[in-house]
Amino acid sequence: MTSTLLFFGFGLLSVLGALGLILFRHPMNGAMSFVVTLISLAGLYALLSAKLIFAIQLIVYAGAIMSLILFIIMFLNIQESDLPVESGRWFYLAGGTAVIAPIAILLLKVVKTLPGGDTVIVGGEFGGVKGVGVLLFREWLLPFEIVSILLLVALVGAVVLAGKREVKR
């Protein structure tokens, strides 16, 4: 019962945050409301008894990534003048909604075809660090390994694109 209430609460919050992200004109406000979404998602993870993910969501996402984004926004100290004048925004929003509707309906209908089930917290190892970790290193070694390459590439890329240094000719 409480979990249901919580779900709806978090769900509402996350949706509102998402709407805020889309609707706020200034990226700063958008980012703040996106943080709301992320945190409420973390709550939902908890409800789904995904302990590790709950933690990482809070630490990595809401923590690291968002703060990075916010930092960049600050760093560029965007004035109102820098922001694009999106006069036709509402039009685009309306049109966009109309265009997206079929996709949404399709996905929702498909989701409905799945078997339902309840979400009572399952205790024990499920979703815990140990369980996930063992799984990660036993069965998901390959993706885990190549993710490292991915991060390396991202690093180099970021350096090449935005790094400040003397370009050797």
Binding site: S14, G30, Q57, G95, D118, L155, A162
Partner: protein, 98 residues
């Protein structure tokens, strides 16, 4: 009940799409994409719960990692663009067309 979670993820996903196609602000667009990935994550975790297997969690982890990497690069690009035009408007960058 589970289905509500999934429906929620679908809704968030679609909101992400909406953000991408309706906004011209680079930041907003990137965050919208992040939103889409998060929606996917929610679905993964939910399905893990549904299937009673933790693969979903691992998948979610992976997606987060990728999201982080993308975010890093994306922000680098944003800085690059801002250096060029001092603006965050995607429509400013339309030299290549036709």
């Amino acid at each position: 009940m589970i289905l509500n979670y999934l429906s929620l993820s679908v809704i968030l996903f679609c909101l992400g799409i909406l953000g991408v196609i309706s906004r011209r602000n680079v930041f907003t667009v990137f965050m919208a994409i992040e939103l889409m990935l998060n929606a996917a994550n929610l679905a993964f975790v939910t399905l893990a719960r549904l299937h009673e297997s933790m693969d979903g969690h691992v998948l979610a982890l992976m997606v987060m990692a990728v999201a982080a990497a993308e975010a890093a690069l994306a922000l680098a690009v944003v800085i690059l663009l801002h250096k060029h035009k001092g603006k965050l408007d995607t429509n400013v960058f339309s030299l290549l067309k036709g």
